[in-house]
């Protein structure tokens, strides 16, 4: 672990010479497919550190929002500014962990090796990364035979291998058992504490409570509410979030 930490710190130092990609400013983001607007005027600002939970009913555009922010897609209208950069220019300084991890048809170790090599990182960090996510003992096993929780931990190790300044997580613990959920939350929290800016999509109120510094609640293509955790959980301002919090069905 200490090796991996040392490298991240060294990288953060190198990153300091580059222009920062935080805070984030999102203005009037619109994403349309044909006539249907999935996102219809999304605006919010995020500070330089912490863990932002992005919530909202199914189909409210959470996954698409992450892809827009990560520069994998272009919005129909609106502006995303990471510091002074457009989203598409800073993809390499961010990492996205998908709900269903896409792992290479290779061993666990080779999945990490591949990314370290492709991104010009020190190959020697692999063991420390695997150790960090508790997969050192599985290094030589085929990655695609891992359990759901292990596969997601490998996806996290791979994301961390790129030394991201921002990490997106798209429902990474959906359909995992409680122990796996906690293991993944621990890894994400440690990354957050080391200064990685976290944007975390979840459906799980309990998880949101455990992880959130602030909450962005999407509803009907807009930000229905953006509040610090201390204000959101006792009493959300918007009705949709209140219903969601009470386990009601939000449409």
């Amino acid at each position: 672990m200490s090796d991996a930490m040392a490298m991240s710190t060294a990288n953060a130092a190198a990153g300091a010479q580059r222009s920062p990609i935080l805070p984030l400013s999102v203005r009037d983001l619109v994403l349309r497919f044909g006539d249907a607007a999935v996102l219809d005027g999304v605006s919010f600002d995020l500070g330089t550190s912490g863990c932002t939970m992005i919530m909202g009913p199914n189909g409210s555009g959470k996954s698409l929002l992450l892809k827009l922010l990560h520069g994998l897609m272009q919005p129909t209208e609106g502006q995303i500014l990471w510091g002074r950069h457009a989203a598409a220019d800073v993809t390499a300084r961010q990492a996205l962990v998908f709900q269903k991890p896409v792992l290479l048809r290779r061993s666990v170790a080779a999945n990490i090796d591949f990314v370290l090599q492709a991104r010009g990182k020190d190959r020697a960090r692999r063991d420390a990364l695997l150790d960090h996510v508790g997969l050192a003992h599985k290094a030589d096993q085929p990655a695609r035979l891992l359990s759901g929780g292990e596969a997601q931990r490998l996806a996290l190790a791979r994301a961390l291998a790129t030394d991201p300044e921002v990490m997106f997580l798209d429902e990474p613990t959906a359909s995992l058992d409680p122990a796996s959920v906690l293991a993944i939350e621990r890894i994400v929290s440690e990354a957050r504490d080391r200064g990685v800016r976290i944007l975390f999509v979840t459906h799980d109120m309990g998880q949101s409570r455990r992880m959130a510094d602030d909450v962005v609640f999407l509803h009907r293509g807009r930000v229905a509410e953006h509040s610090p955790a201390a204000e959101f959980f006792p009493e959300p301002r918007c009705a949709a979030a209140r219903e969601h919090l009470n386990g009601g069905i939000v449409v």
């Binding site: 990560h70 994998l72 993809t91 390499a92 990492a95 996205l96 998908f98 896409v102 290479l104 048809r105 290779r106 591949f114 990314v115 492709a118 991104r119 085929p142 990655a143 695609r144 035979l145 790129t162």
Partner: protein, 232 residues
């Protein structure tokens, strides 16, 4: 018939030198053609699989159409190029194993290209978003796809080899079925059968069958091992 079969088995088991020569030439020609076809077909397949360029649809149609090239037509075209009066006649390649390798390569390169394109495109649709998130270069993407599709591509190569080694129309035109020079299993079987020497024809037929089934079985077992590790 039973007698011919017994004679054939005798030939195979005694390791008859003429027979061995024919079998080895067959393997050399078809394996070389398969390797060349892979060197040509895989990059083309990969390019079309991940590329988004104008005319891609046309390339796809042409690639798939070329898969069905009739061997005798390929043989004829290669013959016209390599014959004394042809544009490449000065190379003196007609009726040599090299001419046969050229014909078989032309015949199976489109098969390798079209089949690998399908394999790589399917895999790419699975990996593309993750790879874009990782900011991989195009070359890194191609390398990763080729490696991760390795077991499927082995089957693609096998399909090419199977077609090459069993093919008779092209090699008989450009090779000429010359004894000790360009006689391969399929052309020898055709000739010996027409001459009535069923023993040699049958012996070669048995070997061809064993090679075809054996290579298939070997590739299948490699694939099954890989599948158990979820590497396919």
């Amino acid at each position: 018939m039973g007698e011919a079969f017994a004679l054939a088995l005798g030939l195979v088991l005694s390791g008859d030198p003429d027979l061995a020569e024919i079998v080895l030439l067959s393997l050399r020609v078809s394996l070389t053609a398969t390797i060349l076809a892979c060197l040509i077909g895989l990059p083309i397949g990969a390019l079309v699989a991940i590329g988004r360029f104008r005319g891609r649809g046309t390339v796809l149609i042409v690639m798939n159409a070329l898969m069905g090239l009739p061997p005798v037509v390929v043989g004829l075209l290669v013959y016209l190029h390599l014959s004394r009066s042809g544009p490449l006649g000065f190379l003196g390649l007609l009726y040599t194993p090299t001419a046969m390798i050229i014909a078989q390569t032309i015949l199976i390169a489109p098969i390798v290209a079209a089949l690998s394109r399908q394999v790589l495109e399917d895999l790419h649709s699975e990996y593309a978003e993750q790879f874009r998130s990782l900011c991989l270069t195009r070359w890194q993407t191609v390398q990763a796809l080729l490696w991760d599709a390795r077991y499927s591509l082995l089957t693609v190569g096998l399909a090419g080899f199977g077609r090459a080694v069993a093919e008779v129309g092209a090699v008989i035109i450009v090779g000429g079925n010359i004894d000790h020079l360009t006689r391969v299993m399929t052309t020898a079987i055709a000739l010996e059968t027409s001459k009535g020497d069923l023993a040699l024809a049958l012996a070669l037929g048995i070997i061809l069958l064993v090679i075809a089934l054996g290579v298939n079985a070997a590739v299948q077992s490699v694939r099954m091992t890989a599948a158990r590790q979820a590497y396919v």
